[in-house]
């Protein structure tokens, strides 16, 4: 078995105008930088992107927004991106804002074959509009549908030819969940290794969820909010 593709261009082959993509990451942490750059170059347009955030103006999904390649965003928080806010308030960009926990669970459900589930998040708010409400244990819950995507694109620390993945730090975030929910899942990794090199006890995403894998290049790993303390002595 060999899921390795030779280049990022081959990895994103088949992504067409109007498709739905999931992109892992929280803020700029754990985003598939190489694939996003390749999508910008490819000129593919009319995309629906499911991603917790929308990058910043000049990095991450912000690059696709600037080129107007995104038709619709499904996210939980988009506060760091002025261009996003401008396109949304002017009506150029369709936006579905959903609670972060519901977004995570909807991706996981999509990958796990659970078509919908009830959650208390959003009851009594505009998120609940048009959704079925049911009382469980005396508390109202709303019905949320699973999410899937034509392609899921995730970023991992290490991966092997079989598609097994290990993430590093809080760069894990949405990546394992979205990896489960893509009809085709593309994994870009910082280090591609041979099967057997990763300890099976510490695999975060089993290879069954991944169809294509490649070793990325030149990761910038931009820090959004650099907060430090100084040594006192």
């Amino acid at each position: 078995m060999n899921k390795v593709v030779g280049s990022v261009e081959l990895a994103i082959e088949g992504i067409q105008n109007g498709m739905t993509l999931m992109l892992g990451g929280f803020g700029l942490c754990g985003i598939p930088e190489n694939s996003i750059s390749a999508l910008v170059k490819s000129g593919v347009t009319g995309l629906t992107c499911i991603s917790n955030n929308a990058g910043v103006d000049d990095f991450g999904l912000g690059l696709l927004l600037q080129k107007k390649q995104i038709k619709k965003m499904i996210s939980s928080y988009v506060g760091e991106n002025d261009e996003f806010e401008r396109q949304m308030l002017s009506g150029e960009l369709e936006v579905d804002l959903i609670p972060q926990g519901s977004l995570a669970a909807r991706c996981q459900a999509g990958g796990a074959g659970v078509p919908a589930f009830f959650t208390p998040a959003g009851y009594g708010t505009e998120v609940a509009e048009g959704k079925e409400v049911r009382i469980f244990n005396g508390k109202p819950h709303i019905l949320e549908a699973a999410l899937t995507a034509d392609f899921a694109i995730v970023k991992a620390w290490k991966g092997d030819r079989f598609g097994n993945l290990i993430f590093k730090g809080t760069a894990r975030n949405f990546n394992p969940l979205m990896a489960m929910a893509g009809k085709i899942t593309i994994a870009e990794v910082e280090e591609l290794v041979e099967p057997g090199e990763l300890d099976p006890n510490f695999i975060h995403t089993p290879g069954v969820f991944v169809q294509r894998i490649f070793e990325g290049k030149n990761y910038e790993k931009r820090i959004e909010q650099r907060t430090v303390r100084t040594k006192t002595n």
Binding site: F26, S75, V78, A104
Partner: protein
């Protein structure tokens, strides 16, 4: 009157040994600086870490280790890292003992609004809706009035809601208040603040019973 650090210090007095605590962005983040000596409290950040530590020393920042505010952080000994679904399972499943978050408005029935100003500002709710819908113990940390001097403690929220009937306690620059079925109940006054000042700054139903002690911070 308290400043933001004072609000954080007062809320830190609510912490109990062994609690897992989720702190929102803004004033709540400051609470981590005032954990009373001898208490072991584990901070959760909903992007996927339990055991969040202080900011890293200069030069030791790691782009792969951030909190929900996208700030670089460190991990304490005994920290655990997980995906976002597991993170919200902790929240929804009520494994987190205290949630502290900011708000634009709170109503006297416990409704909260903090994610959207229609036509003006839409940043998204992030994890706030999941947190307020599930947490048993929710404290709101905020200024009593907005920049225009209008009360943020209302009889009904005017902004789109984040959650309904969920806030239990509010700590502001002026007061500590509990949310009860009959409205905001005044528990403590901030140093140097009179009951009358609090009444004037509170638009929702305010219950004042007996002598209201001044808080110790």
């Amino acid at each position: 009157m308290l400043n933001k650090e004072g609000i954080a210090k007062r809320i830190a007095q609510e912490l109990k040994d062994g609690w897992y605590v989720n702190l929102g962005i803004g004033i709540p983040t400051l609470i981590a600086n005032y954990v009373p000596d001898g208490l072991n409290v584990v901070f959760q950040s909903e992007n996927g870490i339990l055991g969040m530590g202080p900011f890293p020393f200069e030069g030791e920042e790691d782009a792969d280790l951030i909190n929900a505010g996208k700030q670089t952080i460190t991990a304490m000994p005994g920290a655990a890292i997980f995906d976002s679904a597991t993170s919200f399972a902790m929240i929804r499943g009520q494994h987190i003992q205290l949630t502290v978050l900011g708000a634009m408005e709170v109503a006297d029935n416990g409704d909260i609004a903090n994610w959207k100003i229609p036509g003006k500002m839409v940043k998204g709710m992030g994890g706030a809706m999941d947190l307020v819908a599930s947490a048993d113990n929710i404290i709101v940390a905020m200024m009593h009035t907005n920049r225009a001097g209008k009360s943020k403690l209302l009889s009904k929220c005017t902004l789109p809601l984040t959650g309904v009937n969920c806030v239990k306690k509010i700590v502001t620059n002026l007061a500590v208040l509990d949310v009860t079925p009959d409205g905001f109940k005044l528990i403590e006054r901030a140093p140097g603040v009179s009951v009358e000042e609090i009444q004037n700054a509170t638009a929702g139903r305010l219950i004042v019973e007996g002598d209201i002690p001044e808080m110790v911070v």
